[in-house]
Protein backbone atom coordinates (compact mmCIF):
# COMPACT_ATOMS: atom_id res chain seq x y z
CA UNK A 1 0.00 0.00 0.00
CA UNK A 2 1.33 3.45 -0.92
CA UNK A 3 2.10 5.69 2.07
CA UNK A 4 -0.68 8.21 2.57
CA UNK A 5 -0.08 11.89 2.02
CA UNK A 6 -1.83 13.23 5.07
CA UNK A 7 0.28 15.14 7.53
CA UNK A 8 -0.52 13.87 10.98
CA UNK A 9 0.61 16.09 13.82
CA UNK A 10 3.24 14.23 15.92
CA UNK A 11 2.02 12.98 19.29
CA UNK A 12 4.05 15.54 21.30
CA UNK A 13 2.45 18.50 19.55
CA UNK A 14 -0.97 16.97 19.83
CA UNK A 15 -0.55 16.54 23.59
CA UNK A 16 0.46 20.18 23.95
CA UNK A 17 -2.69 21.30 22.29
CA UNK A 18 -4.67 18.62 24.20
CA UNK A 19 -4.74 20.71 27.33
CA UNK A 20 -6.52 23.40 25.40
CA UNK A 21 -8.99 20.89 23.96
CA UNK A 22 -12.03 20.07 25.97
CA UNK A 23 -14.03 17.08 24.84
CA UNK A 24 -17.00 18.43 22.89
CA UNK A 25 -20.24 18.02 24.81
CA UNK A 26 -21.96 17.01 21.57
CA UNK A 27 -19.52 14.11 21.16
CA UNK A 28 -19.99 13.02 24.75
CA UNK A 29 -23.76 13.26 24.36
CA UNK A 30 -23.57 11.04 21.31
CA UNK A 31 -22.01 8.25 23.37
CA UNK A 32 -24.27 8.81 26.35
CA UNK A 33 -21.38 10.17 28.40
CA UNK A 34 -19.34 6.99 28.06
CA UNK A 35 -15.76 8.29 27.72
CA UNK A 36 -14.30 4.82 27.21
CA UNK A 37 -16.68 4.18 24.34
CA UNK A 38 -15.83 7.54 22.80
CA UNK A 39 -12.12 6.72 23.05
CA UNK A 40 -12.73 3.41 21.24
CA UNK A 41 -14.93 4.92 18.54
CA UNK A 42 -12.45 7.72 17.80
CA UNK A 43 -9.61 5.21 17.84
CA UNK A 44 -11.28 3.12 15.16
CA UNK A 45 -11.91 6.19 13.02
CA UNK A 46 -8.28 7.32 13.38
CA UNK A 47 -7.20 3.86 12.20
CA UNK A 48 -9.57 3.58 9.25
CA UNK A 49 -9.95 7.12 7.92
CA UNK A 50 -6.47 7.58 6.35
CA UNK A 51 -6.90 4.38 4.34
CA UNK A 52 -10.32 5.54 3.18
CA UNK A 53 -8.90 8.86 2.00
CA UNK A 54 -6.15 6.97 0.17
CA UNK A 55 -8.79 4.80 -1.52
CA UNK A 56 -10.56 7.94 -2.71
CA UNK A 57 -7.29 9.28 -4.07
CA UNK A 58 -6.65 6.03 -5.96
CA UNK A 59 -10.17 5.86 -7.40
CA UNK A 60 -9.81 9.45 -8.60
CA UNK A 61 -6.58 8.45 -10.32
CA UNK A 62 -8.20 5.32 -11.80
CA UNK A 63 -11.32 7.19 -12.83
CA UNK A 64 -13.54 4.54 -11.17
CA UNK A 65 -16.62 6.63 -10.36
CA UNK A 66 -18.63 3.80 -8.83
CA UNK A 67 -15.89 2.88 -6.38
CA UNK A 68 -15.28 6.58 -5.75
CA UNK A 69 -18.94 7.12 -4.88
CA UNK A 70 -18.92 4.18 -2.45
CA UNK A 71 -15.73 5.40 -0.76
CA UNK A 72 -17.04 8.96 -0.50
CA UNK A 73 -20.29 7.63 0.96
CA UNK A 74 -18.33 5.63 3.54
CA UNK A 75 -16.38 8.71 4.53
CA UNK A 76 -19.61 10.73 4.88
CA UNK A 77 -21.04 8.09 7.16
CA UNK A 78 -17.93 7.58 9.22
CA UNK A 79 -17.02 11.25 9.68
CA UNK A 80 -20.67 12.00 10.35
CA UNK A 81 -20.24 10.57 13.85
CA UNK A 82 -17.94 13.45 14.81
CA UNK A 83 -19.92 16.63 14.17
CA UNK A 84 -17.83 17.87 11.32
CA UNK A 85 -20.01 19.57 8.76
CA UNK A 86 -16.87 20.59 6.86
CA UNK A 87 -15.84 17.02 6.14
CA UNK A 88 -19.33 15.56 5.70
CA UNK A 89 -20.45 18.47 3.51
CA UNK A 90 -17.49 18.07 1.14
CA UNK A 91 -17.68 14.26 1.21
CA UNK A 92 -21.36 14.45 0.20
CA UNK A 93 -20.45 16.81 -2.66
CA UNK A 94 -17.82 14.31 -3.74
CA UNK A 95 -20.47 11.55 -3.73
CA UNK A 96 -22.75 13.63 -5.90
CA UNK A 97 -19.99 14.40 -8.43
CA UNK A 98 -18.90 10.76 -8.50
CA UNK A 99 -22.50 9.67 -9.13
CA UNK A 100 -22.66 12.20 -11.94
CA UNK A 101 -19.37 10.82 -13.28
CA UNK A 102 -17.79 14.27 -13.08
CA UNK A 103 -14.14 13.52 -12.37
CA UNK A 104 -12.79 17.09 -12.67
CA UNK A 105 -15.37 18.37 -10.15
CA UNK A 106 -14.61 15.36 -7.93
CA UNK A 107 -10.90 16.21 -7.93
CA UNK A 108 -11.62 19.81 -7.07
CA UNK A 109 -13.79 18.82 -4.11
CA UNK A 110 -11.16 16.34 -2.96
CA UNK A 111 -8.54 19.10 -2.92
CA UNK A 112 -10.72 20.98 -0.43
CA UNK A 113 -11.74 17.85 1.46
CA UNK A 114 -8.29 16.50 2.28
CA UNK A 115 -7.12 19.39 4.52
CA UNK A 116 -10.46 19.29 6.36
CA UNK A 117 -9.97 15.59 7.04
CA UNK A 118 -6.49 16.37 8.37
CA UNK A 119 -7.92 19.02 10.69
CA UNK A 120 -10.50 16.51 11.91
CA UNK A 121 -7.88 13.84 12.58
CA UNK A 122 -5.79 16.32 14.55
CA UNK A 123 -8.79 17.44 16.59
CA UNK A 124 -9.80 13.86 17.35
CA UNK A 125 -6.26 12.84 18.25
CA UNK A 126 -6.20 15.73 20.73
CA UNK A 127 -9.59 14.66 22.05
CA UNK A 128 -8.32 11.16 22.73
CA UNK A 129 -5.33 12.62 24.60
CA UNK A 130 -7.70 14.71 26.72
CA UNK A 131 -9.86 11.69 27.43
CA UNK A 132 -6.85 9.69 28.54
CA UNK A 133 -5.36 12.50 30.64
CA UNK A 134 -8.61 12.98 32.44
CA UNK A 135 -9.00 9.28 33.31
Amino acid sequence: MKPHHLTVVPRGEASESAEAVTVSSALLERVGGDRLLLDEVIGLFLEDCPALVETIRQELANGDCEALERAAHSLTGSAGNFDTTEVTGLAKQLEVHARGRDLPASREVFAALEPEVTRLLVRLTATVSTLRCAS
Binding site: E29, V31, E40, I42, L44, T76, G80, N81
Partner: protein, 201 residues
Protein backbone atom coordinates in the same frame (compact mmCIF):
# COMPACT_ATOMS: atom_id res chain seq x y z
CA UNK B 1 -34.04 -8.83 23.05
CA UNK B 2 -31.55 -9.73 20.31
CA UNK B 3 -30.32 -7.00 18.00
CA UNK B 4 -28.10 -7.34 14.93
CA UNK B 5 -26.03 -4.43 13.67
CA UNK B 6 -25.05 -4.63 10.01
CA UNK B 7 -22.45 -1.93 9.42
CA UNK B 8 -19.10 -2.02 7.64
CA UNK B 9 -17.71 1.20 9.14
CA UNK B 10 -15.95 0.12 12.33
CA UNK B 11 -16.35 3.43 14.18
CA UNK B 12 -20.09 3.58 13.48
CA UNK B 13 -20.52 -0.10 14.32
CA UNK B 14 -18.70 0.34 17.65
CA UNK B 15 -20.73 3.43 18.50
CA UNK B 16 -24.04 1.71 17.78
CA UNK B 17 -23.12 -1.52 19.55
CA UNK B 18 -21.81 0.37 22.58
CA UNK B 19 -25.02 2.37 22.92
CA UNK B 20 -27.36 -0.51 22.29
CA UNK B 21 -25.53 -2.82 24.72
CA UNK B 22 -25.77 -0.12 27.40
CA UNK B 23 -29.55 -0.19 26.92
CA UNK B 24 -29.66 -3.88 27.74
CA UNK B 25 -29.91 -5.49 24.32
CA UNK B 26 -28.02 -8.65 23.28
CA UNK B 27 -25.90 -7.32 20.44
CA UNK B 28 -24.15 -8.95 17.54
CA UNK B 29 -22.36 -7.13 14.76
CA UNK B 30 -21.64 -8.17 11.18
CA UNK B 31 -19.93 -6.13 8.51
CA UNK B 32 -21.58 -7.36 5.32
CA UNK B 33 -24.77 -8.65 3.76
CA UNK B 34 -23.63 -12.27 3.74
CA UNK B 35 -23.06 -12.12 7.50
CA UNK B 36 -26.49 -10.59 8.00
CA UNK B 37 -28.27 -13.32 6.04
CA UNK B 38 -26.33 -16.04 7.87
CA UNK B 39 -27.45 -14.55 11.18
CA UNK B 40 -31.02 -15.48 10.21
CA UNK B 41 -30.14 -19.10 9.47
CA UNK B 42 -30.23 -20.28 13.08
CA UNK B 43 -33.05 -20.64 15.57
CA UNK B 44 -32.10 -17.66 17.72
CA UNK B 45 -32.20 -15.11 14.90
CA UNK B 46 -32.19 -11.39 15.67
CA UNK B 47 -35.44 -9.69 16.57
CA UNK B 48 -34.25 -6.15 15.77
CA UNK B 49 -31.90 -5.16 12.96
CA UNK B 50 -29.97 -1.94 12.39
CA UNK B 51 -29.01 -2.21 8.75
CA UNK B 52 -26.69 0.09 6.85
CA UNK B 53 -27.82 1.06 3.36
CA UNK B 54 -24.49 0.47 1.63
CA UNK B 55 -22.43 -2.61 2.38
CA UNK B 56 -19.32 -3.95 0.66
CA UNK B 57 -20.95 -7.03 -0.89
CA UNK B 58 -24.55 -5.91 -1.52
CA UNK B 59 -26.79 -2.97 -0.71
CA UNK B 60 -29.02 -2.86 2.34
CA UNK B 61 -32.13 -3.19 0.19
CA UNK B 62 -31.02 -6.60 -1.08
CA UNK B 63 -30.19 -7.70 2.44
CA UNK B 64 -33.70 -6.62 3.47
CA UNK B 65 -35.33 -8.59 0.68
CA UNK B 66 -33.28 -11.66 1.51
CA UNK B 67 -34.16 -11.49 5.21
CA UNK B 68 -37.86 -11.06 4.41
CA UNK B 69 -37.72 -14.01 2.00
CA UNK B 70 -36.54 -16.28 4.84
CA UNK B 71 -39.87 -15.78 6.57
CA UNK B 72 -40.52 -16.09 10.27
CA UNK B 73 -43.69 -16.34 12.38
CA UNK B 74 -42.60 -13.15 14.09
CA UNK B 75 -40.60 -11.16 11.53
CA UNK B 76 -37.61 -9.11 12.62
CA UNK B 77 -38.06 -5.37 12.95
CA UNK B 78 -35.65 -3.80 10.44
CA UNK B 79 -34.39 -0.23 10.75
CA UNK B 80 -32.49 0.93 7.68
CA UNK B 81 -29.69 3.45 8.29
CA UNK B 82 -28.27 5.77 5.68
CA UNK B 83 -26.64 9.14 5.21
CA UNK B 84 -28.95 9.72 2.24
CA UNK B 85 -32.41 10.93 3.13
CA UNK B 86 -34.11 11.55 -0.17
CA UNK B 87 -37.76 10.63 -0.63
CA UNK B 88 -36.88 8.08 -3.33
CA UNK B 89 -34.58 6.33 -0.92
CA UNK B 90 -37.22 6.24 1.81
CA UNK B 91 -39.75 4.66 -0.55
CA UNK B 92 -37.19 2.17 -1.90
CA UNK B 93 -36.18 1.16 1.61
CA UNK B 94 -39.72 0.61 2.85
CA UNK B 95 -40.69 -1.25 -0.32
CA UNK B 96 -37.72 -3.56 0.13
CA UNK B 97 -39.13 -4.60 3.49
CA UNK B 98 -37.58 -2.23 5.99
CA UNK B 99 -39.92 -1.19 8.78
CA UNK B 100 -38.22 2.13 9.38
CA UNK B 101 -35.67 4.45 7.97
CA UNK B 102 -33.22 6.59 9.95
CA UNK B 103 -30.75 9.13 8.63
CA UNK B 104 -27.19 8.98 10.01
CA UNK B 105 -25.77 10.25 12.26
CA UNK B 106 -28.60 8.86 14.32
CA UNK B 107 -29.71 10.83 17.34
CA UNK B 108 -29.19 8.67 20.42
CA UNK B 109 -32.56 9.38 22.05
CA UNK B 110 -34.42 8.87 18.79
CA UNK B 111 -32.67 5.55 18.21
CA UNK B 112 -33.54 4.35 21.69
CA UNK B 113 -37.17 5.40 21.30
CA UNK B 114 -37.47 3.68 17.93
CA UNK B 115 -35.92 0.47 19.25
CA UNK B 116 -38.42 0.48 22.12
CA UNK B 117 -41.26 0.99 19.65
CA UNK B 118 -39.85 -1.92 17.62
CA UNK B 119 -39.83 -4.06 20.77
CA UNK B 120 -43.50 -3.29 21.43
CA UNK B 121 -44.37 -4.38 17.88
CA UNK B 122 -42.41 -7.60 18.27
CA UNK B 123 -44.10 -8.37 21.60
CA UNK B 124 -47.48 -7.74 20.02
CA UNK B 125 -46.68 -10.02 17.09
CA UNK B 126 -45.48 -12.74 19.43
CA UNK B 127 -48.64 -12.53 21.52
CA UNK B 128 -50.76 -12.70 18.38
CA UNK B 129 -48.84 -15.72 17.10
CA UNK B 130 -49.26 -17.47 20.49
CA UNK B 131 -52.98 -16.71 20.49
CA UNK B 132 -53.40 -18.11 16.97
CA UNK B 133 -51.74 -21.34 18.09
CA UNK B 134 -54.06 -21.56 21.10
CA UNK B 135 -57.13 -21.02 18.97
CA UNK B 136 -56.03 -23.53 16.32
CA UNK B 137 -55.44 -26.13 18.99
CA UNK B 138 -58.85 -25.45 20.58
CA UNK B 139 -60.53 -25.69 17.17
CA UNK B 140 -58.92 -29.03 16.44
CA UNK B 141 -60.18 -30.56 19.71
CA UNK B 142 -63.61 -28.94 19.49
CA UNK B 143 -65.36 -31.29 17.09
CA UNK B 144 -68.78 -30.15 15.95
CA UNK B 145 -71.72 -31.85 14.41
CA UNK B 146 -72.76 -30.07 11.25
CA UNK B 147 -74.21 -30.79 7.84
CA UNK B 148 -76.62 -33.43 6.53
CA UNK B 149 -76.45 -36.74 8.41
CA UNK B 150 -77.71 -39.93 6.77
CA UNK B 151 -79.73 -41.72 9.47
CA UNK B 152 -81.68 -44.99 9.33
CA UNK B 153 -85.37 -44.33 9.69
CA UNK B 154 -85.88 -47.60 11.62
CA UNK B 155 -82.97 -48.14 14.01
CA UNK B 156 -81.53 -44.59 13.84
CA UNK B 157 -78.01 -45.71 12.98
CA UNK B 158 -75.95 -42.98 11.34
CA UNK B 159 -73.73 -43.40 8.27
CA UNK B 160 -70.32 -41.74 8.38
CA UNK B 161 -68.14 -40.34 5.54
CA UNK B 162 -66.54 -43.74 4.99
CA UNK B 163 -70.00 -45.34 4.45
CA UNK B 164 -70.01 -47.25 7.74
CA UNK B 165 -73.15 -47.30 9.90
CA UNK B 166 -72.77 -46.48 13.55
CA UNK B 167 -75.08 -46.50 16.52
CA UNK B 168 -76.23 -42.96 17.27
CA UNK B 169 -74.40 -42.66 20.57
CA UNK B 170 -71.18 -43.90 19.00
CA UNK B 171 -71.38 -41.38 16.16
CA UNK B 172 -72.32 -38.43 18.35
CA UNK B 173 -69.61 -39.06 20.95
CA UNK B 174 -67.02 -39.33 18.14
CA UNK B 175 -68.03 -35.98 16.65
CA UNK B 176 -68.87 -33.90 19.68
CA UNK B 177 -67.48 -33.36 23.11
CA UNK B 178 -70.21 -35.42 24.79
CA UNK B 179 -70.56 -38.68 26.60
CA UNK B 180 -73.76 -40.60 27.03
CA UNK B 181 -75.33 -41.91 30.19
CA UNK B 182 -77.84 -44.66 29.37
CA UNK B 183 -81.29 -44.49 30.97
CA UNK B 184 -84.83 -45.36 29.74
CA UNK B 185 -87.59 -43.06 28.58
CA UNK B 186 -91.25 -43.26 29.75
CA UNK B 187 -92.42 -44.53 26.33
CA UNK B 188 -90.01 -47.52 26.28
CA UNK B 189 -90.30 -48.45 29.95
CA UNK B 190 -93.66 -50.35 29.75
CA UNK B 191 -92.68 -52.17 26.52
CA UNK B 192 -89.24 -53.24 27.80
CA UNK B 193 -90.77 -54.36 31.12
CA UNK B 194 -93.30 -56.56 29.25
CA UNK B 195 -90.52 -58.08 27.05
CA UNK B 196 -88.41 -58.87 30.09
CA UNK B 197 -91.41 -60.48 31.83
CA UNK B 198 -92.17 -62.57 28.73
CA UNK B 199 -88.55 -63.79 28.52
CA UNK B 200 -88.18 -64.89 32.13
CA UNK B 201 -88.87 -68.47 32.80
Amino acid sequence: MRILIVEDDRATARLLSGLVASWGYEVSVVEDGKGAIEAFAGALSPQLVLLDWMLPDMDGLDVCRNIRAIGRDTPAHIILLTSRGTRIDVVAGLDAGADEYLVKPVDRDELRARLRAGERLIDLQQRLADRVLELESALASNRKLSGLLPICAYCHSIRDDSQYWHRVEEYVSEHADVTFSHGICPTCLPRVAREMAAESP
